[in-house]
């Protein structure tokens, strides 16, 4: 199976779609650092090119990890294969009392 998303760092819990992914698709990832085969995930919804897919369940309040670093906090439970974006993740730095 050819890969449809890339993972910056082995510690990441999100991958980035490098092609448009359709809901229900079983998609494979590739690790950027050594180009080794990453996890395979069933997409629960459409994930457009450039958008993030959860590689495993992320609990509410847990950090989304990309580049091996926290990029935000989950505002609700995110299941593996879900689209990870502004509707379920907020900045931990510039989120001035919003959520």
């Amino acid at each position: 199976m050819s890969f449809k998303f890339a993972i910056h760092n082995k510690a990441d819990n999100v991958g980035v779609a490098v092609e448009d992914i359709k809901a229900g698709e079983l998609v494979a990832g590739v690790y950027l650092e050594d180009r080794s085969v990453g996890p395979t995930v069933k997409a629960l919804e459409d994930i457009p090119l450039g958008h993030k897919i959860a590689l495993r369940d992320i609990e509410q309040g847990e950090a989304a990890i990309k580049y091996g670093r926290p990029i935000g906090r989950a505002t609700r439970r995110i299941r593996a294969g879900e689209h990870v974006h502004v509707h379920n993740v907020v900045s931990m730095r510039w989120n001035f009392g919003r959520r």
């Binding site: 958008h51 993030k52 670093r69 990029i71 993740v89």
Partner: protein, 385 residues
């Protein structure tokens, strides 16, 4: 070592373009410089909305930007037009320190039409003289360049920025100077940038600049989604400022950061450097400031398709987003979308950017130049008096 054919200026710095510019000191003088550009072939007018009742550091920064633009090695000669004598002469005197031809003309007591005539006569002579300047082969260590990304998406952090990072490393190794900045857009990765500044005093200077900049943003307490990240960033899949910053710094390569410049600090002479410059993260404001500090070539990675240019500095547009490369092809100079699909490696993509840069340095016009993207946006630091 690699070489390019540039214009060696009177002060020894090297440009890659040979413009004659008409610089207004203030908004009132835009009409006159546009008049000069209508009458005299190839004069580049640089209109802007500022210059009246500014004071303090804000005024100093405007002078730094206007005089720096006229002093840039891509400029052969300059006419400065202002409403009054005093500030016009001041900016012309700052440009004259480079040794290049410069003339100041004021409008008060004379009127637009007479000022346009005087400025046009001087500009016409400057254009003829500039047309005799020849390109000379110089080492790439004479290059001062700058880097910034805009309308970024996750393809920037995945592919176009790491590829640019390879090109930056190669340029610094060959002795060139590369400036980066985007102070606010380092939020979430500022510790990584700081850790790459070996000198403790410079590291502390960087921390202070970063804290001051971000404290203004934080003190507003405003909704940031749509501003940082921008609507375009969000459409492209970037969710937070931290994610944007971590993608942003992929273009910095791996070299130590050996100079840290605040708004008003001039770029000191030197070679083989990666320099942080305190700047806005807005594309045109960024390029306007680093051009005033002497950048003659700007590398701009984009995901969703920013179209920015500059009146005198060629901007090389690079994308790894295949949709943007197809839909906005007239704006894209270097397409590295095959890196996104891992058909090529990051080193190869970096070389592709570098090869294009040498073409631009030798005279090839970039997409932003032929599409007449001449954005010039001085940064304001505070209100007018």
């Amino acid at each position: 070592m690699r070489t390019f054919k540039g214009y060696i200026r009177e002060d020894g710095r090297v440009g890659i373009r040979n413009h004659v510019v008409a610089i207004p000191v203030d908004d009132l003088s835009n009409t006159a410089v546009l008049g000069v550009a209508k009458l005299v072939r190839s004069v580049v007018p640089i209109p802007h909305p500022y210059g009246r009742l500014q004071f303090g550091r804000d005024l100093q920064l405007l002078f730094h930007i206007l005089a720096g633009t006229g002093s840039n090695p891509n400029v052969a000669a300059a006419v400065v037009v202002g409403i009054d004598d005093s500030w016009s002469n001041k900016i012309a005197d700052m440009i004259a320190r480079t040794g290049k031809p410069v003339e100041a003309i004021s409008i008060e007591g004379r009127g637009d039409l007479r000022a346009i005539e005087i400025a046009s006569r001087k500009a016409a002579r400057m254009v003829q003289e500039a047309s005799e300047r020849q390109r000379t082969e110089v080492d790439v260590s004479a290059l001062t360049a700058s880097i910034k990304c805009g309308e970024s998406d996750t393809t920037s952090g995945l592919a176009s920025n790491p590829a640019l990072g390879v090109a930056v490393d190669r340029l610094v190794d060959m002795g060139a100077t590369v400036m980066f900045g985007e102070t606010s857009e380092l939020t979430g990765a500022e510790d990584i940038v700081a850790s790459r500044i070996p000198d403790p005093d410079l590291r502390e200077k960087f921390h202070k600049i970063y804290r001051e900049y971000v404290s203004v943003i934080e003190s507003e307490g405003a909704e940031m989604l749509g501003s940082q990240p921008t609507e375009g960033n969000i459409k492209g899949g970037i969710s937070t400022i931290e994610e944007k910053a971590l993608g942003n710094i992929q273009k910095l390569g791996t070299k130590p950061i050996t100079c840290v410049l605040d708004y008003l600090d001039p770029l000191p002479p030197g070679k083989g450097r990666l320099c942080f410059v305190n700047t806005s993260s807005a594309a045109a404001e960024f390029i306007t400031l680093v051009a005033a500090k002497g950048s003659v070539l700007h590398f701009f990675t984009t995901g969703q398709g920013n179209v920015v240019g500059h009146p005198i500095v060629p901007v090389i547009k690079i994308t790894a987003n295949p949709k943007t490369a197809a839909a906005m092809s007239e704006h894209i100079d270097v397409d590295v979308s095959d890196l996104l699909s891992l058909k090529i490696g990051v080193a190869e993509a970096g070389e592709r950017i570098l090869d294009y840069a040498f073409k631009a340095m030798n005279g090839r016009l970039t997409a932003a130049e032929v599409l007449q993207h001449d954005e010039f946006s001085p940064i304001r630091l505070h209100i007018s008096a």
